[in-house]
Amino acid sequence: MGQLVVSIVGGLLLGGMYALIGLGLVQAFRSTGTFNFAHGQLMLIPAFMFAGWTSSGAMPVGIAIAAALLLSAVGAVAMFVVVLRPTIGLPHFVGFAATLGVSIALQGAMQLWFGSAPRRFELPLIPDGRMEVLGVGVSKEAVVLALGANAVALVVALVMRYSDGGIRIRAAGQDALLASQGGINVRRVYLYSWALAGTLAALAGLVYGSTNVFDTSSTSVALVAAPAIVLGGLDSLEGAAVGGVVIGLIQGFTASYIGGDAVTVVTYALLLLVLLVYPAGLFGKTSMRRV
């Protein structure tokens, strides 16, 4: 029983994070047709900056959080405008390779700026200590952040689905030509999509940074969003959220019952399986050509 609870809490925490990253990735994907490999850096750089800003006490925490989110939003938009927008219309591999290049460059920059020292920080307003869930002791912080991250992901997904702005963003992502003829400013929508992607990544980074010790190599965590969104369906927002939570839970259970080392290989073996058996994912539509 204890293991079950720990698995679920840990899994939901991870899942919430992946859902946040995945939502952003899917939205970015729709606007450029590429998977953004540099999301890991978008996620961690704000975490590092936040750690730096708050450790010296120089900045009030609320402002630091806002600044971190803003930083990633701006960074994401810059990445889109400078590197990825020129690749729209070119074969998808070009954009993907471009994001690989940017991610590697950012990784190098992170190494220069932040060095190899691991960090961790505490978010305010999050209670410390342990609590009892179904008779098992778990960290309060983990529970609060797990619920919080998933709640935010749910809210974002709902906003995207039902709000006016959300519908525009989705329309622009599905068919840019029709959307623009319908009066949607597609170019601006793409910018918003990327700003949103960056903000969500930063949020995920803050969640991660307060529950884990991280260093510059932690960027690979965001890469796990790839199996998540493939499972959910590369062009589906609901899929991203659901896929993220599912992968998170799978990771939580694997870590508990099999061991932490197996987590990565199980996740990616699952990705391979999904790609081979059902690449469209749970909720996605994809073009299938019979040749």
């Binding site: 998977f35 020129p86 390779a97 040749v291």
Partner: protein, 356 residues
């Protein structure tokens, strides 16, 4: 009839740089090998220490770059599995060494193992394209590394396998010299083989698969067979590089085989120029030399000792160059050289006609 799952792609598949690359004939390959021989002679005679080591590192990297170029540039198959195949080659070689097998046998086994894994990795490729294919190779990477990590942990632990490099008995410089000539021979054979493949029917089939995979069967090209072939060949060569590296450096540890390493080779191939052996070699040289070159330049400019930041700064440089070249100039540096040469030719022709 086969079902292919892919994203709706705009025109074309992977890149199609200048088809003139196909015309790299035996003559050019021969010239390349002569140039390589000249450089190797110069290095083995005049260069010692770190730079001799660096030269050998470059020669090794060139092998992998040529292989990846065949896979990505000629056949248009996107792969992040480079580090995984290096790991297969390296760990099979290490296992052979631990078992007491002779060096040459270990290397042969490593090549066969890498080819086998390559064949397995090709399976997803038969159904997937583009981004999905890349993600599949990403999975292969993590699965292979897990196996390697388990093996390493069961044998030696985190520090990895350590032993003396081959040729050490000839002394520091003698060892590097011996390696330079050995690698030169292997690389030359590789260049000849790659040039023949790229120039002949196989190369044309690969390019057809790259540029228009649906139409290829109409021209009688067995797509499955050629895709399998390019994966097996390229991973065999990368495995060979991995195995040789084990005997070159003596040490192997799982931490070295990262996604960043795979991206490094991607950078080599794209910066150098896709679908070009010369491009692969130029790219390999560029990316291998950069971590050493950059701190040197910085020291001259700023006078500061930024030596330990070399790899990080080099990463920034080739990361940005990778992004730039793949978007703006997919035929890379080799393409640039080609265009410069053509412009020089045109200039000459104009001058001759003006003399009436």
């Amino acid at each position: 009839m086969s079902t292919v799952i892919e994203l709706v792609e705009p025109t074309g598949n992977v890149s199609s740089p200048a088809p003139r690359a196909a015309r790299m004939g035996g003559a050019t390959a021969g010239a390349g090998i002569l140039a390589l021989a000249a450089v190797t002679t110069y290095v083995t005679v005049f260069v010692t220490g770190t730079y001799a080591y660096l030269y050998n590192v470059t020669l090794l990297a060139a092998m992998g770059a040529i292989a990846l170029n065949l896979l990505m540039g000629t056949a248009g198959q996107m792969s992040l599995g480079n580090a995984a195949f290096l790991a297969v080659g390296a760990y099979v070689a290490v296992a052979a060494r631990e078992a007491g097998l002779p060096v040459w046998l270990g290397i042969c086994l490593a090549v066969v193992a890498a080819a086998a894994v390559g064949a397995l990795a090709a399976m997803p490729a038969l159904r997937l394209r583009g981004l999905y294919m890349a993600l599949a190779t990403l999975s292969v990477h993590f699965i292979v590394l897990y196996a390697a990590d388990s093996y390493q942990r069961s044998k030696v632990g985190v520090s990895g396998f350590v032993s003396t490099p081959y040729f050490t008995e000839r002394g520091l410089n003698g060892g590097q010299r011996a390696w330079s000539w050995t690698l030169f021979v292997i690389l030359s054979l590789l260049v000849i083989a790659a040039a023949r493949l790229m120039r002949g029917r196989t190369g044309r089939a690969w390019r057809m698969i790259r540029d228009n995979e649906e139409a290829a069967p109409i021209l009688g090209i067995p797509v499955l067979r050629y895709k399998l072939l390019v994966f097996v060949l390229s991973s065999a060569v990368i495995g060979l590089q991995g195995a040789l590296t084990v005997f070159f450096t003596g040490t192997v540890t799982v931490e070295n085989f990262t996604i960043a390493l795979a991206i490094q080779y991607l950078a080599m191939v794209i910066i150098g120029g896709l679908d070009s052996i010369l491009g692969a070699v130029i790219g390999a040289a560029f990316v291998s030399v950069l971590p050493t070159l950059v701190p040197e330049l910085l020291e001259h400019v700023t006078g500061e000792g930024m030596r330990q930041d070399g790899p990080a700064i080099a990463q920034i440089v080739y990361g940005l160059l990778l992004a730039y070249f793949v978007v703006a100039a997919r035929d890379g540096i080799a393409g640039l050289l080609r265009r410069l040469r053509r412009r020089a030719d045109v200039g000459r022709r104009w001058r001759t006609t003006e003399v009436v």
